[in-house]
């Protein structure tokens, strides 16, 4: 589902105008991005946890060309779905 379709669905749920919903989504996304870049952990009950994880520098070898590359350290954003979210996926399977 693309961003626009999601927005219209959300606007429908809220009974708000499209532009207002879009503004609010943008604001929430910017809050999330800001906080995640400050290495904060965001946990939302019954949804999941957004967290950041540092990946150390390491060497990768291209098996074909045998070229060795030093990969720089990296911070990854991870999302761990809550049990409720997982159940949501499971129950649908059994139906």
């Amino acid at each position: 589902m693309k961003h626009k379709k999601f927005l219209s669905k959300l606007a429908q749920h809220l009974g708000w105008s499209h532009t207002k919903t879009e503004e609010m989504v943008e604001a929430t996304v910017s809050i999330f991005n800001e906080k995640l870049s400050d290495a904060a952990q965001i946990s939302i009950q019954d949804f999941g946890v957004f967290d950041t994880r540092k990946e150390n520098e390491h060497i990768t070898v291209n098996p074909k060309t045998k070229e060795r590359f030093l990969m720089p350290p990296k911070i990854k954003v991870t999302f761990e779905p809550a049990t409720a979210t997982r159940e949501n996926l499971k129950t649908d399977d059994t139906k």
Partner: protein, 200 residues
């Protein structure tokens, strides 16, 4: 800085940012996450601009939910490492650099092993992640092994060089000692001859 934020903190931040009543922010956020939750059972990827994509990876036992951060988010998060780049390491190294390279190589091997350990720990724990992660792990393990073998070969090479130097040095020493002894003997024999001449 707050290390852990929960739903209430996000509500507060949103009310502050948009200057709206707290109740409104709460209603919005509740609906925001509810709608996202509603999309999941449809087994559809959900894209939110500037934030990321929620992807459902089908598997035989149960579906995995994966979050792929958007480039804007990953760039923001990676700001401290933005100046680093993937660098190509040279294979053929000049002899003078061997020792230096040895050290750095061993360090890298260690860090690599750490990473592999970390990944395996993760696998044992909660994060029984996607196939992709497994691939990455195997690649890293292979890398580790390669690094180790390279490390060993370099040690062997270094030892050979030191052997050559020792033999060269000892040969030079023997030569110089021999020359010294010969010179001494020659001088003494000269003196003897001179003394004989003077006697005669």
């Amino acid at each position: 800085m707050n290390d852990k934020l929960n739903f209430e903190d996000i509500i507060d931040l949103l009310t502050e940012k948009k200057q709206i009543p707290q109740k409104e922010a709460e209603i919005f956020l509740k609906n925001f996450f509810r709608v996202i939750q509603e999309v999941f059972p449809e087994k559809e990827t959900l894209q939110i601009n500037n934030f990321g994509t929620f992807e459902i990876a089908p598997s035989q036992t149960h579906h995995h939910l994966r979050f792929l951060p958007a480039s804007t988010l990953s760039d923001l998060v990676n700001k401290p490492f933005a100046h680093f780049e993937k660098t190509l390491l040279n294979e053929g190294v000049a002899l003078n650099d061997v020792e230096e390279l040895l050290q750095t190589d061993s360090e890298k091997v260690e860090s690599n092993i750490d990473y592999a350990l970390y990944a395996s720990e993760n696998e044992e724990g909660l994060l029984k992640k996607e196939n992709m992660d497994d691939d990455v792990e195997t690649i890293i393990e292979k890398d580790c092994e390669k690094e180790k073998t390279m490390f060993r070969s370099k040690i062997v090479r270094k030892r050979k060089h030191s052997d050559v130097w020792i033999t060269a040095f000892s040969a030079a020493l023997l030569l110089s000692v021999g020359a010294f002894v010969y010179l001494q003997w020659a001088q003494r024999s000269k003196k003897k001859r001179q003394s004989r001449k003077t006697r005669s």
